[in-house]
Symmetry: C2
Subunit: 273 residues, 2 copies
């Protein structure tokens, strides 16, 4: 699904995938920056805890945001597709200046939210300027093409990644999270080489890509965003390879980006600040 249409003269809100395990108490730079974007103490943050099967996930983030000075942070306990059609939840979302999608299992997000009024609201609100952050599974769900699973390891593979349709807040991007911690270069390379139209972003834990309305991302947090840019890919053996056979990929670009570094999803240019 492509991102929702932006009104003439408008601009979409930030899309902020976080690699999981973001610091929440001691110098929580990522969440703080998100809160500032959303209006600081005037922010109205709606939390979507659907990826998690733990009842306390949503309420816990309410406390985290309250401690960051946010007056209004409310979690919508959506656990079924029926919940995802509730009008009162859609009305709650309509008041948001920021939406935060928690971690858990991204297939819960896609199967429970996909195609519902809540999913449509998130898409439309982002297109209308509301910022959307998500951590771990909440980051995975953001692009058109979501990584739902795959093997760990550093090598690409014909069966190296499992895709599912995502929420479609971002196009031209393949996202992976817990990236270095779970050794996921191989599945990002697999994903990017299945169809080399997109930039691959591998986001470490406690690290976020703040992707602005101009499609320039800035890295925030303690880890790296690994960018794999296949736009100059000269050769790929992915189509011919049999299961478990080694893959040849020639001509990838690789950037390791740390805090403050930027990458433009449109021009594919990286810069240190």
């Amino acid at each position: 699904m492509c991102p929702a249409k932006i009104a003439d003269g408008g601009e979409r809100g930030f899309v902020i995938p976080i690699g999981g395990a973001e610091e929440r108490i001691d110098d929580p730079v990522i969440l703080q920056r998100f809160v500032e974007l959303c209006g600081g103490s005037d922010a109205n943050i709606v939390i979507i805890p659907t990826a998690s099967q733990l009842e306390e996930t949503g309420p816990n983030y309410e406390v985290v945001f309250a401690e960051l000075g946010v007056a209004n942070a409310v979690s919508l306990p959506i656990t079924t597709r029926e919940d995802a059609q509730r009008e009162d939840y859609v009305e709650e979302l309509a008041k948001a200046t920021g939406i935060f999608i928690t971690g858990g299992n991204q297939l819960r997000l896609s199967t429970i939210l996909g195609g519902t009024p809540v999913a449509q609201s998130i898409r439309k609100l982002n297109a209308a300027g509301v910022h959307v952050a998500g951590t771990s599974a909440g980051a995975a769900i953001m692009p058109e093409h979501m990584i739902a699973g795959g093997a760990s390891g550093s090598l690409p593979n014909e069966q190296g990644v499992i895709f599912a349709p995502g929420l479609g807040l971002l196009s031209k991007v393949i996202l992976d999270q817990h990236f270095s911690q779970r050794n996921r270069l191989g599945r990002l390379l697999s994903a990017v080489s299945y169809n080399p139209f997109a930039s691959g972003l591998g986001i470490c834990e406690d690290t976020a890509a703040f992707i602005g309305p101009d499609n320039v991302l800035e890295v925030v947090g303690s880890g790296n965003v690994t960018v794999v840019d296949p736009s100059d890919l000269q050769h790929s053996s992915m189509a011919e390879a049999r299961s478990q056979e080694s893959i040849t990929l020639i001509g990838l670009k690789l950037h390791m980006l740390s805090s403050g570094a930027r990458y433009c999803l449109n021009t594919r240019e990286a810069s240190p600040e």
Copy 2:
């Protein structure tokens, strides 16, 4: 140390780093190809087992090469610097059409062989056309700048790699082995970014780079050679980074090469065959 001088009109032998754990019995494509290069049944292969602390390592390879049809395969049990000065060993080396350096600990190779007549012989013989293969530690020792150690993981780090001077059969190359199996991208990126003059080769187990006298390598075996080419590196934060701080590297080229693929160390061009 630079590679030894090649006589006018001559050409050096192949240099063949193997990523460790090469198949020795069931379809041993790497060792077979090495044996063919060295003359097949007429080959005279000298084994250097110094990296290993196991007495049986040398004799075991004598058996492996005998089973591949080599009439003369002899292991030199060099375990001290005194051994590495023995004239009879130097004479044995002088008869070799191929030299095979086993796995173990590359710091044993560099500390025991470094600067001795045996090391000088290997260098000069390779320059005169004798092929040199090495597996694991035996591969690590080959370049001017040897990776002696470092942390595992996919991210580069200011303290991510420990270098030691190597045997100097190859210049402009940084080599790592057991590459995907031990998750060593981070230390290869660290190594390459310390001084981005060289191509980084990360060689998987049961995989070899057959580097010809023309400096073109061909991949042989079941795994990948990961090539990191920093020749277009635009920015590196390596010099400013504090210990354990995330590193920014912008503009690396990355090739994943499987069996049959080639890479030229001089032009830095990769091709699928």
